[in-house]
Amino acid sequence: MREVAILGIGQTKFGELWDRSFREIGIEAGFAALQEAKLSSQDISALYLGNMASGSFIEQEHIAPLILDYAGLAGHHLPAIRVEAGGASGAVALHQAYLAVASGAHDFVVVGGAEKMTDVPEDVQTDIANASADQEWETVFGATLPSLWALVARRHMHDHGTRREDFARIPVMAHEMGSKNPLAHFRNKITLDQVLEGSPVADPLGVMDCAPASDGAAALVLGPLEVARKYTDTPVRIAASQVACDTLALQHRKDVTTVEATVVAAKAAFQRAKKSPKDVQVAEIHDAYSISALMALEDLGFYAKGAAAKGLSEGEVAFGGKLAINTSGGLKAQGQPFGAVGVAQVAEIVRQLRGEAKDRQVSGAKLGLTHNLGGTGATSVVHLLERAN
């Protein structure tokens, strides 16, 4: 296996992009990434596209050749492959592309992630999102994704003494960083009281604990590390790319207060990179729900089970603290276009490692982590990214 580098990143604005089509945003992100990498479309030998539910959101399947076509590459007859893994579709697409370059099967590939969610009304968005839970044994009995995470939150509070305000801090930090990100869906700051008093969705979770539905796309160009300097002055090495899975339904997990797939993916990633959690300065963590991010801090190995709350309340996990999380604004403020999330997380870490994150910059960022989840944690993807010197 050879080393793989990220040569370019591209990302559209996230939000309610009513005037823009799925193919428009997909192509915008892809071209931006290619332009950064000083590569032309002809140099690319494959496209991997993360997308969760285009069939449900825009009644269009078979979208990988569609994007390839409108990128002007249909005549090159490249393989264009869609990857679906619920909310983790983007990071799993990156994983597939990483394997393709690492194995030598392809030299230069584009990884895209895109979702167009706001063409359908909010209740329909919710129903589509719920389809990443088990439709036969969860949603049919009245479960929704937020209510499943609420069940997790309540049990986490019961077993580990976590308090409501501990996970309410996550969205507050997300909006603080989102206010500094011109691509973010939400750029307003919010207070802890606003989170605690937000209209209830599934208690203890309120509307401010839940990331929005967004439109948006992000893209990366990957290539072999050994030639990376020909295409960029600031290559970022993929130090590890790990995917792990678990039961689809929450009810079948060994312990609902642990996302075992994250534990396994993170352990494998740190082992492969010969690093440990304390080496990480900056991380993009899956905060589709506030509680999912708090638990990830534990499951990724930053804190022991039950100890993340202390790290949050004492300011260790914060911009300017020991570990900066979700400098992009996270899913909560930057936005949550399902298939694009995992790719956009990596784009933000690349900005951090290049030192291009402007007023979101974490000083001295050398090693970054991304964590992308599908559903209630049936798929978890961890990437470790390092400045290539």
Binding site: D123, T126, D127, N130, Q135, E136, W137, E138, T139, V140, F141, G142, A143, T144, P146, S147, L148, A150, L151, V152, A153, R154, R155, H158, S199, P200, V201, A202, D203, P204, L205, A249, L250, Q251, H252, V256
Partner: protein, 165 residues
């Protein structure tokens, strides 16, 4: 969910019919073709035997749902819970017949056969299990699981009767 898709799982959702691995005795709900607990999954192939849950259990976690799942809009707010059954499996279901303020982790519950939801897309009413507080001294509900054949037949008739044309 289409009529056929719901109908296929009816015996499980009406009667709590799961199965048990005869190699390691672990109980599963819904039933599984292979046992995930057995080290060598092949050991359990063909050795999974039918096993019906009693319907007894306790609340493992719960939430009051304000933004409903599809077909549950008329029921908000409703209590959704994870139920730890006496036989082991964890089940997802609503808790009914009790004020939500009284629901707590560890509370004893019992499965009851109820209307689950009205499915707008397929136009049918779905039936299955919900959970209600366990009555202490033999106050067992007639509708408690396992359900009678008559209840099954009545439900089937109602399901067909409400299908939209």
């Amino acid at each position: 969910m289409t009529v056929a898709r719901f109908w296929r799982e009816t015996p499980r959702r009406y009667n709590l019919g799961g199965n048990r691995c005869s190699a390691c005795t672990t109980v599963y709900f819904p039933p599984r073709a292979v046992c995930p607990t057995c080290q060598k999954h092949r050991q359990s192939l063909g050795k999974m035997e039918p096993f019906t849950l009693s319907g007894d259990g306790e609340v493992f976690s719960f939430t009051l749902v304000h933004e409903a799942a599809e077909g549950f809009e008329m029921q908000v707010p409703y209590v959704l819970a994870l139920i730890k059954t006496t036989e082991g499996p964890l089940l997802t279901g609503q808790i009914v017949d009790i004020s939500h303020e009284e629901v707590h982790i560890g509370m004893r519950v019992r499965a009851a056969f109820r209307k689950l939801r009205e499915d707008g897309r397929a136009g049918v009413i779905h039936y299955g299990y919900k959970f209600s507080p366990a009555r202490e001294n033999g106050g067992r509900e007639a509708v408690a699981s396992p359900v009678s054949q008559e209840a099954l037949a009545r439900a089937a008739a109602r399901t067909q009767g409400t299908a939209r044309t």
